[in-house]
Amino acid sequence: MIETTDLRFRYGTLGPAWSFPDVHCAAGERLLLLGASGSGKTTLLHLMSGLLKPLSGQIRLANTDWSTLSGAEADRFRGRHVGIVFQRPHFVQSLTVAENVALPLFLAGLRPDAARVTSLLEALGIGDKGSSRPRDLSVGEQQRAGIARALVHRPTVVFADEPTSALDDRSTEAVVSLLEHHSAQAGASLLIVTHDNRLRDRYPRTVTLAPLTPVTP
């Protein structure tokens, strides 16, 4: 579950402040956050995952207010409850694909679960790539490995940041289906942040971000 109210944010201490629409997504629900480039999609995503602190307003994730957590607590909390699928999936290049996928378990302080890593990789169709280096995977395979990594620790919320922008129609369909399917299996809320209108029809619930306009703080 993720919920934001009256969220405002500004970069630095002197810049203009931006205001964001409220977002609400219950456990197991799916929500599309639509917006053109520069509408602050990524900023909102970083706010919701605790990587940025809002100027005012509240963000509650799994019934916890981000603002009540200290730095180290926030890191742990994020590790435990948040899964992020990046637009361009980055990996720790010195580790294998399976080790990268297993990283969130280690970083969240959870027990290593090789069986879960393997079954996720297999379910995503890259079961044979576990011992490969990330850079040896195709873009589509990397995207799938990124999804596996976002889901391996059964997070409360999965954020997907433009997951389909680099993909063709067929791959887009496949990736989104996988995301939806596996998020549902993990019982996670799924928030997809995108400017990709191909996804609009699939989602009954969308929040559209207007181009950012400064508001007086």
């Binding site: 890191d75 720790v92 010195s94």
Partner: protein, 442 residues
């Protein structure tokens, strides 16, 4: 998965840079450690063999050479001196005890030294088997000699002329081994000891003859003093009493030096002083002769000081290499942080704390410098071993003390500290990383 493992994998992912940093550190540590080991070995070897020898009497020449030749048996002697002349110093009131040495031959490149039983006694040598020599051509041999040559009590051997090869064997006069010493960790281990008469006999003087009319050639020890300088030897020596007062001239044929010694020559005399003034008066006493006295302690200090300059230079180079390895690790970590910024931001979004990230960077520096330190210590031992082989072949000295010294423990800790520091400084930028901006730029 663990931070150490991630650090390890990151090191392996850039083998060239990791290899260079490790090699630099290993060479730096290895060089410093080799210097430490060498100094320890030299110091021990040199100090152990000086024992209570205050002065060494021998032919004029380099005092250092006199000491190296007669205390350590690693250099050629400066020449020979007449026993009759030497006696005046040996029996000087300032001198407590004197041990004469005469040599010029070898057996399998181990020196055969004619001396008195007081010589092994001075080093506290114990007999492993047999007995001390008592008659001419009886020899009691050191433990190393016995071990390497295979000589045992009852065996006979022929001496070879000179000190370094075995081409010119005195084939007519055989020595008989009558005893073997226990290992004494000193110079006696690599010597074959016999009485002075045996040495004279090998070189053409009958053990029983003791005429005073021998020419320089009749006392034909190889490094024999040339005939013309023998004349200076025969100059009367001023005799100085305990108060430093010249008591009058003595010496010369038929004076206080009895004829029993004739023209017999010895190589050197190890002296222990009774009066500290001996150090001041004896050199004056010998000014007009072909003899000199040298102080082992001073000569060895001078030697180690000369070594010291070379060692100091090497040490400077070693520290420079260690500083370079610091720079190399620093640049390597700094560089990889630039490349891995996004990875680090990613790890943070996956739940890694600042401390975890910083820790893994420290592990990188620590693992790298730890490996460098260990390789360095191994390297210095390899180096010492190679040197020891050379020294053993050339001088029969055993330098192979491989034990880890405290200094090296400090050195290794210092090297690891260098590695940690080189990772810690650029690591600060990883702590300050703006995750959101890095991800957006990625």
């Amino acid at each position: 998965m663990s931070w150490i493992r991630i650090a390890w994998r990151n090191l392996l992912a850039k083998p060239l840079s990791t290899g260079l940093s490790t090699a630099l550190l290993a060479f730096g540590v290895g060089l410093v450690s080799l210097l430490m080991l060498t100094e320890r070995q030299l110091d021990e070897t040199f100090r152990r063999n000086i024992r209570d020898i205050d002065l060494v009497l021998g032919a004029k020449g380099s005092p250092l050479q006199l000491i190296l030749a007669n205390v350590y048996h690693i250099d050629a002697p400066t020449g020979n001196i007449r026993l009759a002349d030497a006696r005046q110093v040996m029996e000087h009131p300032y001198i407590e005890s004197a041990i004469p040495l005469a040599y010029g031959d070898n057996f399998q490149r181990f020196r055969i030294v004619g001396t008195e039983p007081s010589y092994p006694a001075h080093y506290g040598m114990e007999l492993a088997e047999g007995r001390l020599w008592s008659a001419p051509f009886e020899a009691t041999i050191g433990a190393r000699v016995a071990k390497e040559s295979g000589l045992r009590v009852g065996d006979t051997f022929f001496s070879a002329h000179g000190l370094v090869d075995e081409t010119d064997v005195h084939g007519d006069l055989a020595f008989k081994v009558v005893g073997v010493f226990e290992e004494g960790q000193c110079v006696v281990d690599q010597l074959l000891l016999c009485n002075l008469e045996s040495i004279w006999a090998v070189h053409g003087d009958s053990p029983t003859a003791s005429t005073g009319a021998g020419s320089a050639a009749s006392a034909g020890i190889p490094e024999s003093t040339p005939a013309e300088t023998l004349d200076t030897v025969r100059k009367p020596l001023p005799r100085i009493g305990p108060g430093g007062v010249v008591m009058g001239s003595v010496g010369g044929p038929g004076a206080t030096a009895p004829n029993r010694d004739g023209n017999r020559e010895i190589t050197a005399v190890l002296l222990k002083k009774r009066n500290p003034l001996a150090v001041l008066t004896l050199p004056n006493l010998l000014k007009e002769t072909n003899m000199q006295v040298a102080l082992p302690a001073i000569e060895v200090n001078r030697l180690t000081q000369n070594f010291g300059i070379g060692m100091g230079t090497l040490r400077g180079i070693a520290w420079l290499i260690i500083a370079l390895s610091f720079a190399s690790i620093f640049i390597s970590v700094y560089d990889s942080l630039l490349v891995r910024r996004y990875e680090l931001a990613l790890l943070r979004t996956l739940g890694a704390s600042r401390g975890g990230i910083y820790g893994s960077l420290l592990w990188e520096g620590g693992l790298l410098s730890g490996a460098g330190a260990v390789f360095g210590l191994v390297l210095s031992r390899l180096g010492l071993w190679v040197m020891a082989q050379f020294v053993e072949q050339t001088f029969h000295y055993d330098l192979a003390g491989m034990g880890v010294m405290w200094g090296e423990v400090y050195l290794a800790c210092g090297a690891i500290f260098v590695g940690l520091l080189a990772a810690a400084i650029p690591g600060i930028s990883a702590i300050r990383l703006d995750i959101s901006r890095t991800l957006s730029d990625g």
